[in-house]
Subunit: 466 residues, 2 copies
Amino acid sequence: MFHSTTAVLVLAIGALFAAHTSATDLSFDTINNRVIDAEYAVRCPLLDLAKELKEQLKDPNNDLPFDELYFCNIGNPQALGQKPLSFNREVLALAQMPSLLQDENAAKLFSQEARDRATTYLDSIGHGVGAYSDSQGFKFIREEVANFITARDGSDIPAADPNDIFLTDGASAGIKSLLQVILRDDHKEGLMVPIPQYPLYSALAALGGATLAGYYLDEDSRWATYVESLQTALDEARKEGADVRAMVVINPGNPTGQCLTPDLQEEIIRFCIKEKMVLLADEVYQENVYAADREFHSFRQVALKMGEEAADLQLVSFHSTSKGFTGECGLRGGYYQLHNIPQDVVAQLKKLASIFLCSNTIGQLSVGLMVHPPEEGTAAHAEYVEQRDGILSSLSRRATALSAGLNKLEGITCNDAEGAMYVFPQVRLPTAAIAAAEKENISPDTFYCMSVLRNTGMCQNFSQRP
Amino acid sequence: MFHSTTAVLVLAIGALFAAHTSATDLSFDTINNRVIDAEYAVRCPLLDLAKELKEQLKDPNNDLPFDELYFCNIGNPQALGQKPLSFNREVLALAQMPSLLQDENAAKLFSQEARDRATTYLDSIGHGVGAYSDSQGFKFIREEVANFITARDGSDIPAADPNDIFLTDGASAGIKSLLQVILRDDHKEGLMVPIPQYPLYSALAALGGATLAGYYLDEDSRWATYVESLQTALDEARKEGADVRAMVVINPGNPTGQCLTPDLQEEIIRFCIKEKMVLLADEVYQENVYAADREFHSFRQVALKMGEEAADLQLVSFHSTSKGFTGECGLRGGYYQLHNIPQDVVAQLKKLASIFLCSNTIGQLSVGLMVHPPEEGTAAHAEYVEQRDGILSSLSRRATALSAGLNKLEGITCNDAEGAMYVFPQVRLPTAAIAAAEKENISPDTFYCMSVLRNTGMCQNFSQRP
């Protein structure tokens, strides 16, 4: 699970507060328990150790066996050297400073295509990037997204509608909104998530007071999602009284790197319809597919191609500028697309968006740039293709090298990364290591990852393997 | 309440969904009731009418008595023509496209100060704005914020600590986080908010399942906050069983425009300590003070100057790049500062931030630019001062003109805007108007605002007057 990724670490070491102990109210004992229950990697002992090692590295006389820490616990491509696409950044610089468009040197500094796009965007906005946008996101960007989806999914199914699209601060913000609407406070709700999963989902379930109904991916079948496993998880959760009304599928997988085949997707869709569950499709790695025999198909495409049989499917799909070859994590761009969600629920999602005014406008423009590259035949397009293909082939090369390298190690086996930016190896520890972990009163996987970090400087996630 | 402001309107008119009616689960009847309960201006009949009028205006043969709609229902300065500060935008353009720093024409296009600042920021980040930052926000920006607070609040009290500062997507995101931590799901919580208030607070209270304990501002005393009124509201809420543990003060006021005096702030602080309530100080309008006899004092400054007497105060203050003379609403920059909050609660806030990875990096840099203008004596500083003073004097002039104009109208009285960007007039309607409203089955204030909109194109908020 440590491929071309790095970490968001909360590095600030809390200074001791003034010696005075507060007699007032807000204390650990009086805050929202759901926040405390939400687990997230940031508080794990591994990142505490990484923080400690980072401090030690600052001492030139440190005796650590490495010179640098590699944060592989979260997908953060640009922190590991992936470059942003030039066209996108040209347009965003011009959007920040429209006066550059008028400058006599502009033609030397920015491609014609970038100047044209920036002009189009600024004309569409009317008053620059410094005003709040429509809460749902700029309409002209939502139109670009709809065009992209229509082209991606094929012309033999209905075109996408900009009114079904909401622009968000990264995909996470959209997922949060949907779960806030779906999970009811006065019910014992359940949320189906894959095991292993991306911890955003377990954290949001905890914040929403829901229980997790985890379904196992089949490691022996390239991390496939089988309906039997879905049914087992669902039956178990319902037996325990959970009202399970939504299911998360991450495709391509995080952290498992698999890419689903359309026939498995069809089965998942039938299952969701049969069990009356909304399908939440996390499709943020749709551009990252490496396996020669796999390609990305959106759940929307698969469902619409199924025709009447899938007409009852309720689907929300999520995408982000943070992954793929765009890799703009820091700009926080993303969107979600609603499919078959009633208008009175859409109205509630609009209201929820309006409470927080709008997502950041630069992130919104970066979504437009992701889904609408420069026109073919232009110089900007040629540069874009070169940069895109360079990034994707580098990711693919590293994906192959990583799983091959891991499989050579004693006690480690690992599926190939078919997509996304991760592999999830199986590590079989010797009995002595397990005993040593027990002695330290930590789990064997924690023990292993702490040892890797101490000995190599490589910080990986580990808490997701069941 | 309609001064130099405009609206975030959700303009997308939902296309009808496919004729097929879903048999699956997600419907208005099965979503989270708390979302439905959260009221927000966006769904009010006034904005529906505005949307309708906007469509009518597109027809060149329309017979509306105005040519343009003025959205005055939310503070969105750049949508009404306020220009961004040049220095800030130069730095942000360079941060998007660092290659510009190397260009031979860079010196002609960007001031030396902007190039220096962009270089400093990019060096501090290391890998550009496209990677996730520390979840709490870039440390170097939090240091700039701490320096700003220390300088603002004076050197006779302790310096601010960057570890107490969290960078957020606008102030709203920070307020949401704090309330998510404070409001417990298994308690009947209460939140004290002013009447009239900014609707974010009532919406967040509803989402958190809390009841509002509204305290009245004293219109006859320039919208002052008196402890008697706080006590009345608190006693009433507690009598009804609410566990009231936090109180919001908006200073300068939104939508009432008042600026509190330090003696009133001291009384509020004593009240919060006595009643064991966290004080949430919304100080986003701290740069917007117009009254000659008033100046902004932060609650932090007032509390620290009180010394031992206020040592028990727990305080969180919020600031934003969206208001003041910065006015960068779309970039979604903001921060909050914790004061006297225990470290184990801070850890939970860090975890919550990490679940959503980080706030947008451009917004973070815009916070740095807001709190750290160009150095005095530089050309960039002279330009900055000119632009800043131009914006502030224009806002001040319009504030005066607005309340003077309103006070000349029959049946309308209005306090001067001492600060912020709003006035909140009192409109006494004739009996016939009230009867007409009753006939239309709407409240008299809705009736009045709808009439103003229909006759002048001016869209104001109205739902906040009790």
